[in-house]
Amino acid sequence: MSYLLFLLLGLGSGAIYAMLALGLVLKYRSAGVIDFAHCAVAMFCAYVYIELKSSGELVFPWTAIPWHIQLFSKSGTAAGVAIPITLAYAAILGLIMYYAVVRPLRHAPALARVGASVGLLLFLEGIAVLNFGTFAVSSPPILPEVPVHLANNLIVPSDRLYLAGIVLAIGVVLGAIYRYTRFGLATRAAAGNERGALLIGLSATRLSAANWVLSTVLAAIAGILILPITTLNPGTYTLFIVPALGAALLGRFVSFPVTVAAGLAIGMLQSELAFLQTKWTWLPQQGLQDGLPFVLIMIAIVVMSRRLPSRGLVGDTHTASIGRPRAPFRTAAITFVIGLIAIMLFSQLYKFALASSLNVACVALSVVVITGYVGQISLAQSAFAGISAFMVAHFGIWLGLGFPVALIMAAFVAVVFGVIIGLPAVRVRGVNLAVATLAMAAALDSLVFNSTWFSGSYNGMTVRVPHLFGLDLGISKNGSSTVFAIFSLVVVCLMGVFVARLRNSPAGRMFIAVRSNERAAAASGVDVARTKLFAFGISAFIAGIGGGLLAYQQINITAASFVSWTSLTILAITYVGSVGRIAGAAFAGLMLASNGVMATLLNNLFSFNQYQTVIAGLALMLTAVGNPDGVAKEMQGTCFKLLGRVQRALGLGGGALTPAPAGGSVAGASGSAGDIEPGTVEKVAS
């Protein structure tokens, strides 16, 4: 009987995941977007509801300027009034988000939309932290809350049953709408073939907007209904995205009833695990419930990979352009000299910030390889960096190893994890791979990074100060960062050269071939699976080097530096930088890293760090909308134009300084020299 009781107790969690997953499926079906901000939208709508109900205030998604108006008396209003107002608010919010963020990116690469959704997530979270604080709030029951006696010793709170019933009903209704109504059929038609839909008089934009509004309202319903059984603060709802994405993936981002069933199943199984952990003490007592979505996702990938949405569907038809490095050694030498001059001129504060920027740039380089060159969206890069960082410490403790052996060996341990995490890529790609890698990174968080034996828990792990030929490369005893910044610069320049050489090597051309068209690549003799795993390994190695640098900089490292969400931010900032270019990684590190040179400069000048998350989120959204192909590409284009003008002014004629088109490439006609534009291919070397 206890087994059944715990399954039923999981209905509450399951209903929450299912309801959020339904919104994710709606968005994906209509606009081809995996909206990582979906749960943040639910969170914000829940705040709108609770503020209306408790203080009668209507709150808005901005800060600093007045962000709330008194709509009712200060004692608040009834739930029956607050709920419809919140749902109407959500509809308007959804419409604004669609026209401001989603629609401009309709034909942009899928990653641009990921970047924008991460921006929206950070923005809403930041606004909520500033306006509402992080003390948890709760709501009195909305649904009837009485114990229901289903059998002897089988008592379940009625609100969980109601919640499950509501989500089942929504799933069935949505399924029916999209199967039988004109609106649903039109949405499916427009999502499948936008031009075809236009020819028969359907507006894909209007349909997509209507669906976006519907899904935002659904997020608001979820946010409100789950308030009484969960904790509302700016961070909690966001964490529900992993199981919700798992449920959506199990429903193939298509089927509403299957998504509901999957969400309920995840919640019920997590609940059952809580009971089994008390029965079977040999089970891991920590992280098991968080790891469950990952296990289910892996099973789904193995069993259902052929039926999972893949390349060719909405959202995956465009990829970001990639650069072709020219004269990598010369570029690295110039970069090194410029960096060295900067280090010599900078104060200690900015030297440290530059070192931080370089660490982030190194991890961003790993994103350039795996996502830019091979087109695989990995959300586990932070985990690779973390594995390596802790292994640097462990190698020092266990084997007495110091730099550089410990760093290189640690990076190779990250390679092992890279290949393992890359295994799903053999069967799935695109956003499905993103979900799988995020779930795996979340499982690593719970099972590995939070464990005392690996990460030292709250005490963290201390790494040995790096030495080379007797020279202390770490932060010096008097706190000077000069030597460490130079050390980081050398390592990152070497990594840059490595990535550039890789890009121009036969392996790099295989990467591009796989990215462009896997079937064509396979037909021309490329082993797609092996290429992907090789790329994951290389990417993990580079991320591992970045993690090692971070460890050397911080000396004492804790798991907090490597939480799975960091990967999402790193992917987003690298994308905004230009995910297909080494310059994009440098841009991400210098300009967008939360502890990098630009952030430090702004903080020091304007003390804006309280608003940093909000500004970063807004900047991410704006940059993704304004430069869907990344900032570095635009900057590169501007540089070449300036160079051309200089050449003309000097009477050198065109082409003396500007790079020549890349040999062996059919690309480059419309972009910067040597670029590969979306949809073009490059000759694969034998």
Binding site: L9, G10, G12, S13, I16, G126, V129, T134, F135, A136, V137, S138, P140, E145, R160, P228, I229, T230, T231, N233, G235, T236, L239, A274, F275, Q277, T278, G287, Q289, D290, Q348, L349, F352, A353, S356, A442, S446, N450, S451, T452, S457, Y458, N459, G460, I475, S476, N478, G479, L550, Q554, I555, T558, A560, S561, N595, N603, N604, S607, N609, Q610
Partner: protein, 419 residues
């Protein structure tokens, strides 16, 4: 100690014996009475002038789930008070350069570098969970971190750190011992509902488990994923295990746990870590926190002591909306203790080394809102930076924190293991 702004002001007024004059309208009477009482408690003005004495401080305020802006608010309130009424430090106003962090080691390290670049005399301890990373940077810059909340072990063990009163680390031992006591000592079956992150894992395994086992009781940790949306299964698992006392070690899930325990019909004793007793949390729990015990190391504002009266007056004047929780109280105490120790010191002598040396010498220094401190490294043997390890037992009654008994608790110091 744990009331929201308006309630706090009322309680402060009540504690101070505010009279009621019939002829004056009620609101005006209250305001005037509060003002005059506050003024009498605050004393005469002695405004600090001249070159400010600069401190640096990092505070966690931009994380998505656990921030402590009230710590900065409390520090600023107390600094305003000592600069206006106590002449600052030897006539010079105290100034703080704040850096706001999200608690990650990288951002806090960046903050530390920004503070070091400003050349403060020392770092004012505040609230940060980033651990050792910024501390080691301060050490290299020869800066001491004085006071604040010791959320992580390095703050209690670093050579350049000093904690006036333990607010976080040792409280788990006290809570666990009390939970075991409530469960019947050797007969106790204490279920610890702990958040499944690094903090929860660390506190459960290093504090709750050894403390309950030290008195011969049974203990089981129920790890709850931070992403868990409904904790009823975890609560039911704890109850069905046969627990006779429940401990809460989950700062981010207090409201959910308290309401869940009530819904699931748990009527046994609940002992919790301090964050679950913060005024907004008690309010959000809608009465479910009533009866809950917790150990606190600083006085409540309604305790009636001179320190509590002064703190209430300062809050009423400078930070009327301050949620008076432990980190905020610790910060008030920190600033006042620094003032007490150095208000007569020539500012040329005010260096980190001098401050650490002074604070660590002698014994029984005045400790605002707590008992006198002695920084000889012996209060908690393996946490040498902690100067005072005494705790009071509190219970929530009718939505208010109340002290239970007069006993001071500080047992189990030997259970803290060396880092």
């Amino acid at each position: 100690m744990r009331m929201r702004g308006p309630l706090m002001a009322i309680a402060a007024s009540a504690a101070l014996g505010v009279g009621i004059a019939e002829a004056i309208p009620a609101s005006a009477r209250t305001e005037r009475a509060k003002a005059s009482t506050a003024a009498s408690v605050l004393g005469n003005k002695d405004v600090a002038k001249g070159k400010p004495v600069l401190f640096g401080a990092i505070n966690i305020e931009t994380q998505a789930s656990a921030n402590f802006p009230e710590v900065r608010e409390a520090a600023n309130a107390m600094i305003n008070y000592v600069n206006t009424y106590r002449g600052g430090l030897n006539g010079h106003p105290i100034k703080v350069k704040w850096c706001i962090t999200d608690g990650s080691p990288s951002v806090s390290s960046s903050c530390a570098k920004q503070l070091i670049a400003a050349h403060p005399v020392a770092i004012l301890g505040a609230a940060d969970i980033s651990g050792a990373a910024p501390l080691s940077l301060y050490a290299k810059a020869h800066l001491a971190v004085i006071g604040g909340t010791n959320f992580t072990p390095p703050e209690s063990t670093a050579k350049n750190s000093l904690i006036f009163t333990d607010v976080a680390s040792f409280s788990n031992i006290q809570n666990a011992l009390w939970a075991a006591h409530l469960g019947g000592g050797k007969k106790a079956k204490v279920a610890v509902l702990a958040e499944g992150d690094a903090q929860g894992e660390f506190q459960a395994s290093s504090s709750w488990v050894p403390a309950v086992q030290s008195v011969g009781g049974q203990v089981k940790v129920f790890d709850m994923p931070p992403s868990a949306s409904d904790l009823s299964a975890d609560i039911e698992a704890a109850i069905s295990w046969g627990a006779n006392s429940i401990g809460l070690e989950s700062p981010g899930q207090c409201v959910q746990l308290l309401t869940g325990l009530k819904t699931d019909g748990w009527t046994g004793p609940v002992t919790s870590i301090d964050p679950c007793s913060a005024p907004p949390t008690i309010q959000a729990a809608n009465g479910a926190a009533n009866g809950m015990y917790f150990m606190g190391s600083l006085q409540l504002l309604n305790s009636g002591t001179p320190d509590a009266k002064l703190a209430a007056a300062i809050i009423a004047k400078y930070a009327p909306k301050l949620p008076y929780d432990s980190p905020a109280a610790e910060e008030l105490s920190t600033v006042m203790n620094i003032w007490s120790a150095f208000h007569a010191t020539p500012i040329k002598k005010l260096t980190s080394a001098h401050m650490l040396r002074t604070l660590r010498s002698g014994q029984n220094h005045p400790n605002f809102l707590s008992v006198p401190y002695t920084c000889n490294g012996k209060a908690i043997p393996n946490y040498p930076d902690v100067c005072d390890s005494n705790y009071y037992l509190y219970q929530i009654k009718n939505g208010q924190s109340m002290r239970v008994g007069k006993k001071v608790y500080n047992g189990g110091a030997n259970l803290i293991k060396a880092s």
